[in-house]
């Protein structure tokens, strides 16, 4: 922020709107304002009052309007209104008032403001103080308040310096949760000066789980107007879509300062020998991804095959853990078959420890089904008991259940297509600022597998380097699916771990959900930044939204798309903000037609 402290972050001067009502008590928490003729206060407006306190001096009390009221003073009965307004026979004064919740007292002497004191609309430095923006070390403008001025988020509470993670709630269909998440990511990436060294290599991982809404982040939107552009510039960011940077894609070199995006999708099933990304909306710029059996074993991905909450209730995790260890111990590369493995005891590897020639009749593992079969050789021998080194002594029923689930998961339609030998097609999270993984066409089991595998990869990298920077951001919609309030799963455990430790490791989560009450409390409570769009009426009354004022909660049922409530540790009251439309398309039909391009270009192979 270049503005000098005296002018405040947002400039402007405060104007008088009324006086504090002296009927009834004012308190250090709240007071009411009777408005001057020709002045008004709307809900969410910010005010400041100066009170002279004996022995302390001038006290500034800041507050936010939580309710606006009007009445006929002099009317004793409700039917008086007819006599007052219809013919005007009964004299009465229209009185407009506003209820104020105190946000801050400066200096911090919690004394009630005096009745009769003049109340000013807070502008300029006063507004910043009301919102604690003057105390934010790195204020990131994340939208506009009701007065049109920027609302700031203290970046220290997102990037792990003082706090981390963001939780976004709201009913579905209003489509603001994801949009806001990307709006925020775009602001983060667009404010390198603010983010500092972390900005350069900021990496964001996001999963597209519904439709193909996130596959147009590099395409301009036809709904984006000049007003929106102006609003973006007021927030200090030049609005552009993300620049395409999918490996292998035919894209121009991105301009400096424009964050990049890479799209990844699993391979299509039944595509013959070709590996094509499983998306329907766009024909280019999406890279297919798979893991080789080698990677599957090395990265211990087997655990993410068993992510169903019911898996945790029996002994399957014990068997899985043992099997995972055995695979790591025995897997060895096959010469001439990249990515494929065979299972051999370490003392049985002629030609070296790293890679061997496959023997005749030896099972070469090239797919997940091969993995299942190889494990089956030990756990489901044609004769005799399961190999105790693999079964961990589990009962036969458990071993059978393990195998049954593993085989079911291995089919091509489920996880099978994600694991194949050949050249490595792992997702390169370093290829672009934003990595979008399109898993909407995958079976739910496979979706959890991909999410788990990539989150673990991210988290592990950070654990190994121990470096907080560069920041890694995970955007996860429908968080309640991955970290439900009830039950256990490896995914949930990892998310809780990220929520608790990710902050210090620079792994930050932006979680979105319809019902915060259905998300594991450990995950929610660790989110320093809370954002809410329109809420279901019942949901808004839950304890998860205790950070909102009662008036804000009531209004959260009525919020329009593009309006959010922001809660952050640096500001003790929730602030309502609106954010502009985004410059990229959020649906296929929003993609701005490019007149220069050949409309049939995509149809020609």
């Amino acid at each position: 922020m270049n503005a000098s402290k005296n002018e405040g972050l947002s400039g402007g001067t405060s104007e008088r709107v009324g006086r504090i009502v002296g009927v009834g008590h004012t308190s250090s928490q709240e007071f009411r304002v009777v408005l001057d003729d020709g002045a008004y206060l709307a809900v969410d407006d910010l005010v400041v009052v100066r009170t002279e306190v004996p022995g302390v001096g001038e006290l500034h009390t800041y507050g936010v309007v939580v309710e606006s009221e009007a009445t006929y003073e002099g009317a004793a009965y409700e039917s008086d209104v007819h006599r007052i307004s219809e013919q005007g026979l009964q004299p009465a004064a229209k009185v407009r008032t506003a209820q104020i919740a105190v946000t801050r007292v400066d200096p911090e002497v919690w004394v009630a403001a005096d009745p009769g004191q003049e109340v000013y609309r807070a502008r300029g430095i006063e507004r910043d103080r009301a919102l604690y923006a003057d105390e934010m070390r790195r204020p990131l403008p994340v939208g506009r308040g009701r007065d049109g001025e920027p609302v700031y988020l203290d970046l220290d509470f997102f990037d792990g310096t003082k706090g981390g993670h963001m939780s976004i709630s709201g009913v579905s269909g209003v489509a603001t949760k994801t949009t806001f998440a990307f709006f925020f990511v775009r602001l983060l990436a667009g404010q390198p000066a603010l983010l500092g060294t972390a900005a350069a290599n900021l990496r964001v991982l996001v999963f597209n789980v519904k439709g193909e809404d996130l596959l147009w982040l590099d395409r301009p939107s036809n709904e984006f107007g000049d007003d929106d552009a102006a609003a973006w510039r007021a927030l200090g960011v030049e609005p552009t879509p993300f620049a395409l940077a999918t490996p292998g894609a035919d894209a121009p070199r991105p301009r400096a300062g424009v964050p990049t995006v890479a799209f990844w999708a699993p391979p299509r099933v039944h595509a013959g020998g070709e590996v094509l990304p499983d998306v329907s909306g766009r024909q280019s710029g999406v890279a297919p991804f798979t893991w080789t059996p080698r990677e599957f074993v090395d990265e211990e991905l087997l655990q993410f095959v068993f992510t169903d909450a019911s898996d945790a209730r029996n002994q399957i995790p014990f068997v899985e853990e043992r099997v995972r260890g055995q695979l790591r111990r025995l897997a060895v590369d096959v010469l001439g078959a990249p990515g494929a493995i065979v299972l051999r005891e370490p003392n049985d590897r002629e030609g070296g420890q790293r890679a061997v020639h496959s023997r005749v009749n030896e099972r070469v593992i090239r797919t997940l089904e091969d993995v299942a079969d190889a494990i089956g050789d030990f756990l489901e021998p044609e004769e005799g008991e399961p190999d105790r080194r693999w079964s961990a002594g589990a009962q036969l029923g458990t071993v059978n259940a393990f195998m049954r689930r593993l085989r079911a998961a291995s089919s091509e339609a489920r996880l099978g297509r994600l694991i194949r030998a050949g050249e490595s097609r792992r997702i390169d999270r370093m290829a672009a600022t934003l990595t979008v993984v399109a898993i909407q066409n995958l079976h739910e089991l496979a979706q959890r597998f991909v999410v788990g595998a990539l989150m673990r990869e991210t988290f592990r990298e950070k654990e190994e380097t121990g470096q907080r920077l560069p920041l890694s951001v995970l955007v996860l919609d429908e968080l309640n699916k991955y970290a439900p309030r009830e039950g256990q799963s490896p995914l949930k455990e990892m998310l809780v771990d990220i929520a608790q430790r990710g902050r210090s490791l620079g792994v930050l989560m932006i979680g979105a959900q319809q019902s915060a009450s259905r998300v594991a409390p450990d995950v929610l409570e660790n989110a320093s930044i809370r954002v809410t769009g329109r809420l279901d009426a019942a949901e808004s009354e839950r304890a998860e939204f205790g950070w909102m004022l009662p008036s804000t909660r009531a209004r959260a049922r009525l919020l329009k798309p593009g309006t959010m409530v922001l809660g952050q540790p640096a500001v003790p009251v929730p602030i309502v903000l609106s954010f502009p439309r985004v410059p990229w398309a959020t649906r296929a039909d929003e993609v701005l037609a490019d007149p220069a391009s050949d409309p049939f270009r995509g149809l020609v192979p």
């Binding site: 002099g74 004793a76 009965y77 039917s79 006599r83 007052i84 307004s85 219809e86 013919q87 005007g88 026979l89 009964q90 004299p91 009465a92």
Partner: protein, 313 residues
């Protein structure tokens, strides 16, 4: 040297009271033939579209009973009183009413012809008055007179300011203005026989023909029905209105027609007030406002005690 004290106890403390301005000599012969010759019939009201109607009223209150401790003459009675007069002005074009010309007066009235100097009471300005007698009724009648004068002044001012004035209660000296006195209670009837029976046949918005009340302040008067009250007796919903004879019979008739049309609009709904419908909506609101202007009774008394008895407030 004589000293002033506020008495600690008095039954009238703070109680607002209305003085009865409708007391009349027992025998008044009225002339029922000034407007209509022969038998009376109800006459319909007529709204001539007057733009501004001002309802004028006053309230008064005894604030403290005083004792003047005179070393030679013994204790002499006195009282502190306050009155407020004002208007509720109905702008019919704007369809809005506003309180206007509200004035508060404070009097320290002493008996026995004494007029001691009144110590300063913060925030209140007492004008000292004295009466010859020693009885409290005489003191109170001074208050009535002062308030009445303030009301009369206000009526004239508003009339000169192009308002049609409806003053609550009887006002003796309305002058030759578009001003009427509005009397809501009927201590006696001025009419007898068939004329009196006409009152029972009035419908809402109708009036009786005018009759002339002789006296020092000669005036025309008529009865108006404000509201048809199902199950009411023949006088329920009836009010009496007076206009100064000085305006002349032609102008008086315009005023009479006007009140018959307008007053029912201002009538108080029955369920809202025990003096309904005669206690008109604007006047009820005005009274409430005027009492508010008198200030908090307890605070006034405390300030008086502090100033006169030397007791800290």
């Amino acid at each position: 040297m004589a000293r002033l004290y506020v008495e600690d106890w008095s039954p009238e403390y703070g109680a607002p009271f209305e003085s009865d301005t409708d007391s009349l000599p027992s025998e008044v012969i009225v002339d029922t033939q000034v407007e209509t010759r022969g038998a009376w019939e109800p006459l319909p009201g007529r709204d001539d579209g007057v733009r501004r109607v001002a309802f004028v009223d006053g309230v008064q209150r005894i604030e403290a009973t005083l004792t003047l401790d005179d070393p030679e003459r013994g204790p002499l009675p006195g009282l502190c009183a306050a009155y407020a007069v004002g208007a509720s002005v109905w702008d019919r074009d704007a369809r809005a009413s506003t309180f206007d010309h509200v004035r508060v007066g404070r009097l320290a009235i002493f008996g026995g012809g004494e007029s001691p100097s009144m110590p300063a009471v913060p925030g209140m300005d007492y004008a000292v008055e004295s009466v010859e007698g020693l009885d409290v009724a005489a003191l109170r009648s001074t208050l009535d007179t002062r308030r009445g004068r303030a009301e009369t002044d206000l009526v004239r001012r508003l009339a000169e300011d192009d308002c049609f004035v409806i003053a609550d209660g009887r006002v003796d000296d309305l002058g030759p203005n578009d001003a009427v006195g509005y009397i809501k209670s009927h201590h006696r009837t001025y009419l007898t026989g068939s004329e009196a029976r006409t009152i029972g046949t009035l419908r809402a918005g109708e009036r009786t023909p005018m009759f002339l009340i002789p006296g020092k302040f000669e005036r025309y008067s008529w009865y108006v029905r404000l509201m048809d009250i199902p199950g009411g007796h023949s006088w329920s919903g009836i009010a009496r209105v007076e206009a100064p004879a000085a305006v002349g019979i032609v102008r008086a008739r315009v005023l009479a027609d006007r009140t018959a049309a307008l007053l029912p609009l201002a009538a108080m709904p029955l369920h809202l007030d025990h003096r309904a419908p005669q206690n008109l909506v604007p006047i009820a609101a005005l009274e409430k406002e005027l009492r508010r202007w008198l200030g908090d009774d307890g605070l006034v008394r405390r300030a008086l005690r502090a100033a006169l008895n030397g007791v800290p407030a």
